[in-house]
């Protein structure tokens, strides 16, 4: 296997000892089939045990290893070194506070997810004895795409609106709301609308589309938000025409 020496320029920061973040460079002998995560693991295992970062599955399903790689938010386990130049700049995900080295504080994202009521609000409660809720493959197909989100937050790192205003509910949370709104078993669109249709919700989005560009699972949060704008606009005018109607 061919080996190639690559310089990793990694942004380091320990709040206990550092005034501010600073770059540190490591020379790593990379195998042909390595991903950036393999190179970072090499740094930790062999060169510098003080480097902190998140990772888990190494196959782009857990969403833990998001990092800025040469300025682009990517999953480091799916960023192939063979596609990179000899110098790779690695930073923690943009638009999140840095906790330590490549680990960011994701509390705001967790709050945003919770805020859109990401659970089924069914038409009626059904006892187990009454049997299963039924859903056809066609009904599933309508929202299946939006179930693919792995909460990696690359979309938040890419979104210029979130960069400007942290109040923005954000792509993944809005795509998740859309997933439930489209689910035939759910009647909660009205319940979610206070957050989703607020100025910090879908209306903060100007359809830049960077979120969908970086999404590793083609969830297309930008598309979800635009679809929600249409639905919300209809709801809005219907609400004006029939004020007593409570969705």
């Amino acid at each position: 296997m061919n080996e190639r020496h690559v310089d990793l320029e990694i942004l380091r920061y320990d709040p206990e000892t550092d005034e501010e973040p600073a770059f540190q460079t490591y020379r790593v002998p990379c195998q042909e089939d390595w991903v950036v995560l393999d190179a970072v693991n090499y740094v930790k295992d062999v060169l510098d045990r003080t480097l902190s970062y998140r990772w888990s599955c190494h196959m782009a399903v857990c969403g833990s290893c998001g990092m800025m790689i040469n300025g682009e938010p990517m999953l480091s386990c799916k960023a192939f070194v063979r596609d990179m130049p000899d110098r790779i700049r690695i930073e923690p995900l943009a638009n999140f506070p840095i906790e330590r080295d490549l680990v960011v504080v994701t509390d705001d994202f967790m709050d945003k997810l919770a805020s859109v009521k990401p659970y089924l609000i069914p038409r009626e409660e059904k006892a187990i004895e009454d049997g299963a809720h039924v859903q056809t493959p066609a009904q599933l197909k309508k929202f299946k795409q939006y179930t693919l989100c792995i909460n990696c937050t690359l979309c938040y790192a890419a979104c210029p609106q979130y960069a400007h205003d942290q109040n923005f509910t954000g792509p993944a949370a809005l795509a998740l709301a859309h997933r439930y709104n489209l689910d035939s078993q759910d009647v909660g669109r009205g319940a979610r609308e206070d957050v989703v249709a607020s100025n910090a919700g879908i209306w903060e989005c100007s359809f830049v589309g960077a979120c969908s560009d970086v999404c590793p699972h083609e969830v297309d949060p930008a598309g979800a938000i635009q679809q929600t704008k249409i639905a919300s606009t209809v709801d809005y005018f219907m609400g004006l025409l029939t004020p007593e109607r409570d969705r």
Binding site: M1, K44, D45, D48, R49, T50, L51, M59, F80, E99
Partner: protein
Amino acid sequence: MEFVQYHPTGLPGTGILITEGSRGEGGILVNKDGYRYLQDYGLGPPDPWPRNKAMELGPRDRLSQAFWHENQKGRTIDTPHGDVVHLDLRHLGEKRIDECLPMIRDLATSYVGVDPVHAPIPVRPVVHYTMGGIDTDIDAKTRIEGLFAAGECACVSINGANRLGSNSLTELLVFGARAGLGAARLAEAEVSHADEAAIREQAAAGDRVGRLFRNTGGGESVAGLRREMNATMESGAGIYRTEESLSRSCAVMNDIRRRYADVVLEDKSNVYNTDLIQALELDAMIDIAGAVIVSALARRESRGAHQRLDHERRDDEAYLKHSLAHYVAGEDPTIDYRDVVITRSEPGERVYGGAHK
């Protein structure tokens, strides 16, 4: 703890899983001669094919064992990342693959440079799941009052010596819920069950974290010890085990345990210190590896995922029991047993494929 499932189709090198679904859709496993070798191991006949429950959908332990035998016979394919066989999906066609297995196509293309539409995927058995775990009852309660466990770390046991794919979903949804609800109910009860004095005493005596921070000297690396542990577990306690291979691994693990005392933390930060996390995890893994080996040595039979070359028969009289490993500080764990409770299905002969029709 001796029961560890190997999944038959992982990518070489990364160990990334190629889902059973690819065989469910009709993928076949062939050796270096392009031969569907599973028919040699009681899983056949290969035809008629395609059909439901084709031999490639045999149980994971049998498929992994078949690979081992093919490897012994020199019929596997040599690659820089180890020996493999081929998972062939070409006959499914591009449309079916894109519709039903798009993730597989992406994984194989990205990580091993193979497009399954045009070429077979190199695969080999990879360690996948631990059937054993923390002993819990049906309410996810452990033997420690107030401690609940659910998921792969727990053993209710719904898996036994062999495990059906996706049972982990059951473990999370059913027992995760029971654990959560049970814990909430317990927390809401007026009485505290914690023996605070005992806890304080244990914490002071243990203080693994403090010791790691204070340790000086060094010379042992967490990553190095971990790699040695991986290697000895794979070779000594893998798909097939013997008294000799297990004893050898036992000695290696005891040596690793001794050398662990010389692990020094390079990272002394109190903020998200992953050097510390990895050191603590290694400590725990060394104990668990010991439990696996000792349980495997004690079980002198072959059953499901635990296969002994020196005890090939299944022995229900002596071993239709769950092994329980008890931690003993500074020594090998002690093993005792609990009878398996049979309610509906009596243990029978494991016969697969068309042979029993």
